[in-house]
Amino acid sequence: MIGRIIVSRILRAFVLLVIVVLFLSYVFGTLAEERLSSQVLEEIGVELRSNPSYPLLSNEEKLEFKTNLINLKRTQYGLDKPFFTRVMQNALNVITLHFGDALVLKSRSGSKSVSAIILEALPRTVILFTTGSLIGILIGLFLGLKAAQKSGTIFDRFISGFAILSRSLPMWWLGMLFIVAFSYYLKIFPSGGYISLPPPSGIRYFLDFLYHLALPLLTVVMVLFGSIAYLSRNLVLGTLQEDYITVARAKGVPEKRVLYGHVLRSTAPPLITLSAVSLFGSFGGALISEIVFNWPGMGRLYWTALEANDHSVLLGNTFVTAFIYIVGIAILDITYGLLDPRIRSGERR
């Protein structure tokens, strides 16, 4: 049963990915057609102007010469093939991770390959987002449990209020505020980048990296932990009213064990799904926060690609972002399936 669920989930994720890629290829196909067509006309213009025998031709010959040249160039750029074929070809390239060369941007090592540029940015996004999520979830879980335990108190209300507050503000704006407060006024943290220039060596490199990571990390954590705390509080509160908890307490099971053993175990599956939802909800926000902090990850790559008008990097980056998002959700769904006894035993929901 569980094997079938995993296979079908992976299959569906793959189909969705293909749909997204086809759509992206279609959109970029129209863009590339426009760009290439105007490029063809431009190149022909230059060629005709520099060709000394061209002005000597009669008008009809001129026209013929020009049409031939246009057709030649269009074949060269693949524009003679039907639009549909080109979109399909492009989609196939993207799915097999052949992103081609960037138009403008270069990687730090000087490579023009889009894959190299993205591979350089990817780890930085992963480090920032996974560390931030982990800390956010841990803090959120802890506070949520505490709030559920003390439900109705000021602390509980504060947590619930904070959750709504943190869900209502753009993460990247919070980052901007932090820069104004901590970098401009207090001058405690650097305002951007991921390492000092020139980069220090050895353990100092690592410390300097952490120093630069601190403020972006704080931003991600601040926005995440509120909603995680709120979710876990609500779920735990529901479980705390179950009979078996009352029994456990009556038996004299220590409160800590009740909370972390009994309650947490039975609330884990829905907690993981809901946390995943809020996690992936904040993924976009985290990407854009990179721009604010000049953190050279994938979010920042969107900005540089847009500024440089480099649509091949934009396409590659969009695909990788979509890939992470879709595959990430699929993995979390499968984890949920593995954790939930109802699904594990094959019972229908």
Binding site: I19, S168, P170, V180, Y302
Partner: protein, 445 residues
């Protein structure tokens, strides 16, 4: 359902809603938001701020990157307030603008608008009685004539001559505010100039038909200006319209699509239902931000287009919940009875199942709005927003480009984000309150 029933149920609903404190707070905030969206621009000095946000001529008389006026209340140094003098007196053929100057720093510029035809001259009389000639000959043409004094070579020369005459020869930095000596008592040419406070008289010798004088300061209006001289208060009020359109267009359409999709999905059986469920899953797992980035980059985007595209893509969550509600309702006796009587599927869906899901839809619309507004702000922040209207995300995008955070221009960074936050928060409050009352799933408990 007749009118009486609807009235009755609305009254019941209101009775319940009134009891939820956060819901009432949200409702009040919502009314404030709607009020500012429609009537707000009338309270600003720049009512056309929204549509003319990128029109530099609309903003050219404002100071650049000026902080809000009220910072003067908290600082020992009194910063120069941006002043527009519309009134003037005419004595013996001389037009006089009276400028009160109680600040610790000089105005950064004086801009004169004069109407009339002919020639006139321009002098300024200081509180200590010194008269400084500024321009010997102003030529006025028909229509409005604009004179920027800090940019005029003649004014610069006259002011420098005055300073040198008063304090002897001295170095004159070309980077210094050229108007500084006019408004200083001592050390006319250095950064430590002591301001001469009091009433200044800007005199125009000659015949004019109308005019005004603008003394540019470094504090301006309610929320100051950005590096493009734009009034941020007007921009934020103007941006409310974009948020309003995005929220109230995208969320309802997305929710309606989701409700119907979920209902039909819940009602159908077999392969068709499985297929629909899969489509629903796709919509639910769609990475919205990258897709919207690509669409806006390629085709360009307006507020309306954004709202419609969002609505077409983001109905997955509602459809899921709507389907699960439909699955429950389908088993209810009244639906079975209708079926037994031979009612068509469309009739059962519209007449019997839709009314049961409808209340949930309202809650869902309110809860979906914050997401739409945050997403639009993100797209605008990337510089891909609607170029024809001011949005909060775009103001923050400009701030990011101009490195406002690193320059400490907090009045450019904080208010737009607060506005986004305020609107999103409002709809969260209203949405969660509606949800507790109207969501049938929560009610069953």
């Amino acid at each position: 359902m007749n009118v009486q029933d609807i009235k009755e149920s609305l009254r019941d609903f209101w009775r319940e809603y009134r009891r939820i404190k956060s819901g009432m707070a949200g409702l009040i905030l919502l009314l404030i938001f709607i009020f500012f969206t429609f009537l707000g621009p009338m309270f600003t000095a720049f009512p056309e701020a929204g549509p003319r946000w990128r029109d530099t001529t609309y903003w050219m008389d404002n100071p650049r990157a000026a902080s809000p006026s009220w910072v003067n209340m908290f600082s020992s140094q009194k910063l120069c307030k941006h002043t527009i003098l519309e009134e003037y007196q005419v004595e013996n053929g001389i037009t006089i603008f009276k400028y009160d100057y109680p600040y610790d720093e000089p105005p950064s510029d004086i801009i004169l608008y004069l109407e009339g035809v002919g020639k006139c001259n321009l002098t300024i009389e200081r509180p200590d009685g010194e008269i400084i000639p500024l321009m010997d000959e102003l030529t006025l043409y028909s229509g409005e004539n604009r004179f920027v004094l800090a940019a005029s070579q003649e004014v610069k020369k006259n002011v420098r001559d005055f300073a040198i005459k008063r304090e002897g020869a001295s170095a004159y930095s070309p980077f210094m505010n050229p108007l500084l000596p006019i408004f200083s008592k001592e050390n006319l040419l250095s950064e430590e100039a002591i301001p001469l406070k009091g009433e200044y008289l800007l005199k125009i010798g000659g015949e004019i038909k109308g005019g005004r004088a603008i003394f540019s300061g470094s504090v301006f209006g309610v929320l100051g200006t950005d590096a493009g001289k734009r009034d941020l208060f007007a921009g934020i009020i103007g941006g409310a319209k974009a948020a309003f359109i995005v929220g109230f267009l995208a969320a309802p359409i997305a929710v309606i699509i989701g409700i119907f999709f979920g209902l039909i999905n819940g009602y159908t059986k077999g392969v068709k239902s499985e297929g629909m469920l899969m489509v629903n899953d796709f919509a639910y797992n769609l990475p919205l931000l990258p897709i919207l980035i690509v669409i806006s980059y390629t085709y360009g985007i307006t507020i309306i287009k954004f709202a419609l595209i969002y609505a077409l893509l983001a109905w997955g969550t509602t459809a899921r919940v709507s389907r699960s509600i439909a699955l429950q309702i389908k088993e209810q006796q009244y639906v079975e009875a209708a079926k037994a009587q031979g009612a068509s599927s469309a009739r059962i869906l519209l007449k019997h199942m839709l009314p049961a899901v409808m209340p949930y839809a309202f809650a869902q619309i309110a809860l979906a709005i914050p997401g739409v507004i945050l997403l639009e702000a993100s797209i605008s922040f990337l510089g891909l927003g609607d170029p024809t209207i001011a949005t909060w995300g775009q103001i923050l995008n400009d701030a990011q480009r101009a490195n406002a955070t690193l320059g400490g221009l907090w009045w450019w960074v904080i208010p737009p984000g607060l506005a986004i936050f305020f609107v999103a928060f409002t709809f969260f409050l209203v949405g969660t309150s509606l949800d507790t009352i109207l969501n049938p799933k929560l009610r069953v408990r």
